[in-house]
């Protein structure tokens, strides 16, 4: 029984079929890669999976539940969290608060309790602080907890985005080009972090990436997109040796 099952997913913008007859099946605990040349429709697939766009056709099932056409916040509640290609942090909030926003739906108290500082406020805030610090420690960000997110160095901003996504307690984590703009050292560190996240949180990960070292290093299976269509799909080693894929990336 796969965790994520996508069938016949299609969306057009005007006359352009950005994603055409896309299908995907990810098992629980898998590290799955989505690759392809620029403009192939990878981020569009992410946007379809997270409800930013509604598909024209197709069915998306997460953990046996149909989530096709749901709103972004409902999909997040159903168990998909994501990061973004161009980092989207809450820049004027502290690093700690960024994670606490991720914890929002799991640690509730009412507005009234918040304004009048009733005992429940202190109790839940304490829980949130502890949980957020735990998550920050995993990503080695706990020393910067009180910094503004905007003041973090680039690599740490990427990590904070992953921490925030994990705070929503997802079943499936989508990472959109997590290694973009990183040097080889940082990429190596990121690979360790992703592996660690999978072990520690028992997480299933779907990631978009251009860095072949990262893809071949951590992904167990791949789907290659080209012009909105699936070029090939399968185990990482097989896919990367497919002449079709090499042509798509390097040209004839």
């Amino acid at each position: 029984m796969p965790l994520l099952e996508v069938k016949n997913l299609t969306i057009s913008f005007g006359g352009l079929r950005a994603v055409d007859d896309f299908h995907l099946s990810i098992k629980k605990g898998q590290l799955y890669g989505l690759i392809g040349p620029n403009g192939a429709g990878k981020t569009t697939v992410f946007n379809l999976l997270t409800g930013v766009y509604k598909p024209d056709e197709g069915i998306i099932t997460l953990d046996d539940k149909d989530i096709t056409g749901l709103k972004t916040i409902e999909i997040n509640k159903a168990g998909i969290a994501r990061t973004f290609q161009n980092i989207r942090l809450f820049k004027e909030l502290s690093v700690l608060d960024n994670v606490k926003v991720g914890l929002h739906n799991h640690h509730p108290y009412s507005t009234f309790e918040g304004i009048f500082r009733l005992p429940n406020y202190y109790k839940v805030e304490k829980e949130m602080n502890e949980r957020a610090m735990e998550l920050l420690k995993v990503f080695d960000l706990h020393q910067e907890a009180n910094y503004l997110a905007a003041n973090l160095p680039y690599g740490k901003q990427r990590k904070l985005e992953i921490a925030r996504a994990l705070a929503t307690e997802p079943k499936l984590l989508l990472l959109d080009e997590p290694a973009a703009g990183m040097n080889p050292n940082e990429t190596g560190e990121l690979m360790d972090t992703i592996r660690f996240v999978r072990e520690k949180f028992d997480m299933t990960v779907l990631l978009i990436e251009h860095d072949m070292k990262l893809v071949s290093g951590i992904c167990e299976a791949l789907t290659v997109l080209n012009f909105g269509r699936i070029l090939t799909q399968g185990k990482t080693a097989d896919v990367l040796n497919d002449p079709q894929v090499i042509t798509a990336y390097l040209g004839e």
């Binding site: 997270t50 930013v52 972004t72 916040i73 997040n76 509640k77 969290a81 994501r82 973004f84 989207r88 942090l89 809450f90 820049k91 004027e92 909030l93 502290s94 608060d97 606490k100 926003v101 991720g102 929002h104 739906n105 640690h107 509730p108 108290y109 507005t111 918040g114 304004i115 009048f116 500082r117 005992p119 406020y121 202190y122 839940v124 805030e125 304490k126 949130m128 009180n146 910094y147 503004l148 905007a150 003041n151 925030r164 996504a165 705070a167 929503t168």
Partner: protein, 371 residues
């Protein structure tokens, strides 16, 4: 045990909030001392309640502009709604209950009605962004003011009568009384407002807004401001929190309106008091004090209200000087060079007291952070 412990540690934000309350209380005591010693001109004395009103409005608008991050130019409209609903209630119930209780109820009614208007107007308006939202709130503010100007309400032994035409079409019996008389507004509102009540309301407004900001809901609101798409992706209900911030802001502006109405014997809706001039003046306080900086709003509102009075001696040049001072203050406070200079000043003179790096990282003012 746990609670007292966390209270004793006093986080940075708690400390900053306490300082804000303290500033208001010290200012209040200073004024009381001046009044007791007879050192205050009657003109200045007359300015005390308006001062409280402007502070309340500035603080409440900062919730929309600084915390929610949406530019609203219709804030005077919500003040107008609060003023008229509160004054209408006071006029209806005059003599039937103790003054303080009636005023308290008037304040609550003003807040609730303005808050409801905030929700009603917020639902369509908050679908827009930036400049478009600003223009539409401006239009709604003007609509409210103009509707109030053609509203006639009377009361006789049969009950209430409404009209949008004139007072004659109310068809009141002989024992009837016109309560709201169109452009002539409401006359004979009891004079319940005082400086003390005004300051108490400022403290209440601060309490609500500062506690809201530093709670789960406030974080969600600021997350939407900083990045709507990311907020949505972590499961924040955008519409709910936008409406929450907008309506709480409107409700507190309504309280300011009730205070305003009960400081005058005649309440009319004119461009001067409830038009967009007023909305923009409040926005000036917010921008000058620092968008998102609640304490700054208070200081800016007080300074800019007192300034024209302090410059009274210059007669005709008064407003010219006011404008020049406004420009100078804006440049001194918010030009990048001035901010840089201030930071260097802080580092040179206060660096011994606190640790260097993390402090400056947080203090670096981009104008949006919550202090």
């Amino acid at each position: 045990m746990d609670k007292t412990n966390s209270k004793f540690k006093l986080s940075k934000t708690t400390k900053s909030n306490l300082i804000t309350y303290l500033i208001v209380i010290i200012a209040y005591l200073t004024v009381q001392l001046l009044l007791a010693g007879g050192h205050m001109s009657s003109l200045m004395e007359g300015l005390l309640v308006p001062l409280c009103i402007y502070v309340i409005l500035a603080v409440s608008l900062n919730l929309t502009v600084g915390i929610l991050g949406e530019l609203s130019l219709g804030h005077a409209g919500f003040m107008c709604v609060g003023a008229f609903s509160g004054a209408f209630f006071s006029k209806c119930t005059q003599g039937s209950m103790p003054d303080m209780l009636r005023f308290l109820l008037a304040l609550i009614i003003g807040a609730v009605v303005a808050g409801v208007f905030g929700i009603l107007i917020g639902i369509p308006v908050l679908r827009l962004k930036g400049d478009y939202l600003a223009i539409v709130t401006l239009a709604f503010g003007e609509i409210i003011k103009n509707l109030v100007n053609v509203l006639y309400i009377g009361r006789d032994s049969d009950g209430f009568h409404f009209s949008m035409k004139d007072s004659i079409s109310l068809h009141l019996k002989e024992d009837g009384e016109v309560l709201v008389n169109g452009a002539q507004g409401i006359t004979g509102t009891p004079h319940d407002s005082s400086f003390t009540i005004g300051v108490l309301l400022i403290l209440l407004a601060l309490f609500i807004i500062l506690n809201l900001i530093h709670s789960r809901d406030g974080r969600a609101i600021m997350a939407i401001r900083d990045n709507r798409i990311a907020a949505e992706s972590v499961g924040i209900n955008i519409t709910k929190y936008k409406l929450m911030a907008f309506s709480i802001s409107a409700a507190i502006a309504g309280v300011g309106g009730v205070l305003y109405a009960h400081n005058l014997s005649t309440l009319t809706a004119q461009p001067k008091n409830f038009g967009y001039n007023m909305s923009i003046m409040i926005l000036v306080y917010v921008v000058l004090g620092g968008i998102g900086n609640i304490r700054g709003s208070i200081i800016a509102a007080v300074l800019l209200t007192l300034l024209p009075e302090l410059l009274r001696g210059l007669s005709d040049y008064r407003m010219l000087i006011y404008a020049v001072v406004l420009i100078a203050m804006m440049l001194l406070n918010w030009s990048p060079k001035a901010i840089e200079w201030k930071e260097r000043f802080r580092e040179t003179y206060f660096s011994g007291r606190k640790t260097g790096k993390s402090e400056t990282a947080q203090v670096s003012q981009t104008g949006k952070g919550v202090k």
